[in-house]
């Protein structure tokens, strides 16, 4: 839902980042307002996953330029846990398995950390169990998964449901979902997308990082951005995703090549 007067939640300006000595992001700018759903599309290696990890504060990535403001504050100066407590959520492309740590306890500790960030009281074990059982329905997840170790032995679909369950519990203002559709069969995709749609509202925003159009068949974006070589090459409405689907990514390559050739020709 696009409302030009809605408050800006996330403002990315000319963001540049590298991993080890490899520059990945080469100047990304993006403004996200409350109520909006953005899709960031692009080929593997275009930098879209890096963007999500930089926003969440992954220590392997170094920001080399640009700014990110979240609710008007400098996001990049915050530790990852403080970003999460302030309501930024990253749904992982490959959720991490943590043997020996019970999923239920993990969810409770995470939920209480976020509640503390919102100035709300911590939930005790019983109150939390009630809450988690209610939120399980958002992703139609079997309560048996609460008793297991975090993501351990979960199938790809179960891991992604567990991500959306975390999103449902943490009540984020900006959710960045990195390739949430990868590795899902059509039923799992429908359930996960249903969860995302259920949680999207006028006060929060969602950034979908995806390779394929098919996720956008079930979640309708307000904006589609096409990334290539660490930049946003083009921005449009949902029709841009359809165009990508039809024409493939080849034209992106052509456009990119032209862009990179231009300065040389001017010389």
């Amino acid at each position: 839902m696009i409302r030009p007067d809605a408050p800006v939640l996330l403002e990315i300006h000319d963001l540049q980042a590298r991993v080890e000595d490899q520059p990945i992001l080469k100047g990304v700018s993006l403004t996200v307002r409350a109520g909006e759903i953005h899709a960031v599309m692009g080929r593997n290696g275009s930098g879209k996953s890096t963007l999500s990890k930089v926003l969440a504060g992954h220590p392997a990535y170094t920001v080399t330029g640009g700014t990110v403001h979240y609710l008007g504050e400098d996001l990049l100066s915050l530790e990852p846990e403080l970003r999460a407590r302030a309501g930024l959520f990253l749904g992982f492309q490959y959720p991490v398995e943590i043997p020996g740590v019970s999923n239920l306890e993990f969810l409770r500790v995470a939920t209480n950390a976020r509640r503390a960030g919102k100035g709300e009281e911590e939930l005790d074990t019983f109150a939390f169990e009630d809450l988690v059982r209610e939120r399980l329905q958002v992703v139609q997840m079997d309560p048996a998964f609460l008793e297991r170790s975090v993501n351990e032995g979960f199938s790809g679909g179960e891991k992604k449901r567990n991500e959306i369950l975390q999103m449902a519990l943490l009540d984020p203002l900006v959710a960045v979902l990195d390739e949430t559709d990868s590795g899902l069969d059509i039923d799992a995709l429908r359930i996960v997308a249903g969860g995302v749609n259920h949680l999207a509202g006028p006060d929060n925003a969602t950034l979908l990082i995806t390779h394929y159009q098919r996720l956008l068949d079930v979640i309708t974006p307000d904006y589609v951005h096409v990334m290539a070589a660490g930049r946003i090459l083009r921005t449009g409405g949902k029709e841009l995703a359809l165009e990508l689907e039809e024409r493939g990514y080849d034209w992106v390559d052509a456009e990119l090549a032209a862009l990179e050739r231009t300065p040389a020709e001017v010389l």
């Binding site: 969440a56 504060g57 992954h58 220590p59 392997a60 530790e79 990852p80 846990e81 970003r83 999460a84 407590r85 990253l90 992982f92 959720p95 991490v96 943590i98 043997p99 020996g100 740590v101 306890e105 993990f106 500790v109 995470a110 950390a113 976020r114 960030g117 170790s149 975390q166 943490l170």
Partner: protein, 422 residues
Amino acid sequence: MVAASLSTPTAAAGAGPGGWIAALLATASGGADALAASRQRAAQALAQIPLPSRRDEAWRFTDLAPLTALNPTLLTPAPAAQPEVAAGSLRLHLDGRSDPLAGISLPAGVEPISGAELSETLGQVLAATGSADLWPVLLNGATARSVLALRVRGAVPTSLELVSDAGGGEGILSLRLLLLLEPGASVEVLQVHRSSGANLTSVVLEARLREGAVLRHGLLAPGDGAACLLATVAVEQATGSRYSGVSAHGGWALGRLEPRLVQREGAAHSALKALQLADGRQISDTHSQMVFAGPGGRLEQLHKAVADGHGRSVFNGAVQVPRLAQRTDAAQLSRNLLLSDRARIDTKPELEIVADDVRCAHGATVSRLQQDELFYLQSRGIAADQAARLLLRGFCEEVLQELPAAAAAWQPLVSLLGEEGR
């Protein structure tokens, strides 16, 4: 009789480590109990060999200094506060002197062994597992004044807790245990050894499992400060028997555990799961030995260690598969967590495989906390230090949750990690 045993250690008298043994033997000698004769034999053997040193392969990484710093005298600890006994569990208190069975009614299927049978049986499992001449076993033999010996028949639903707390006193607490499981018997036994003072807990368990017997064995040993622990667990298995040993020790200035297993005719199942922790300047050591003396035996072994501070962790896992032990299936995995730049981990599988038709897998990993796991937790609002604690707990829980149910009352996580339990 007192004069006779006093004469043995004089050769080693004087200052230094040899003097430490001499002084200990002087205080431990004498007595007219059932163990007097074997005690004297062990004392003589002990007096004739030097203290283990870093030149001995089995003690290469394990310095005895924390042990010889202790007062070489015998300790009889005062009763200590203990958690409530869990339902379905029977607790026996070991202080090295009083009869742990006084005023106790044993569950059906469990009876004490005494007299000629005891003197005849004691030491047989040590001999069968090649453990009789181990230095910690000799030290125990030279100082223990009583033995808790039990025979088990049939399936015993009650789990037995064998508990000691050396407390804050100085000296050596020596405990000797013997379990005989008759054919088809099954029982759960949990050893708990605690201490908070400058003392040594020396414990030797012999267990004989007859055909088809099942022993679920736990050993939980949280130490503190200058306290030392030397624990030997010798297990002799007949065919079709199952031994499952789960151990966790940490917090000792020097803590060393030696599980010694033999499958006499093979065709038995052995499982070892262990966790050891070393922080500060602690030494945490496990030397395990598994011998397949017949074909078709199985071993599943997981050894986990955490080293922090200046702590030192040592694991040596010997597995012997002689020619007659065809179709042995053995797997050993050593997983180690190195939490500080100054901590040290030495881990070594020691497989001697002569038989050719066997499966023997082994592996070892040493790592820090995984960055991707830490980041995942942080990305959910969990602070870095809390995330690290959660991961450490998870690492330990994989072993701790396999301890017999009666261990829960002793709060293994709290006692070993200082963590709040759940």
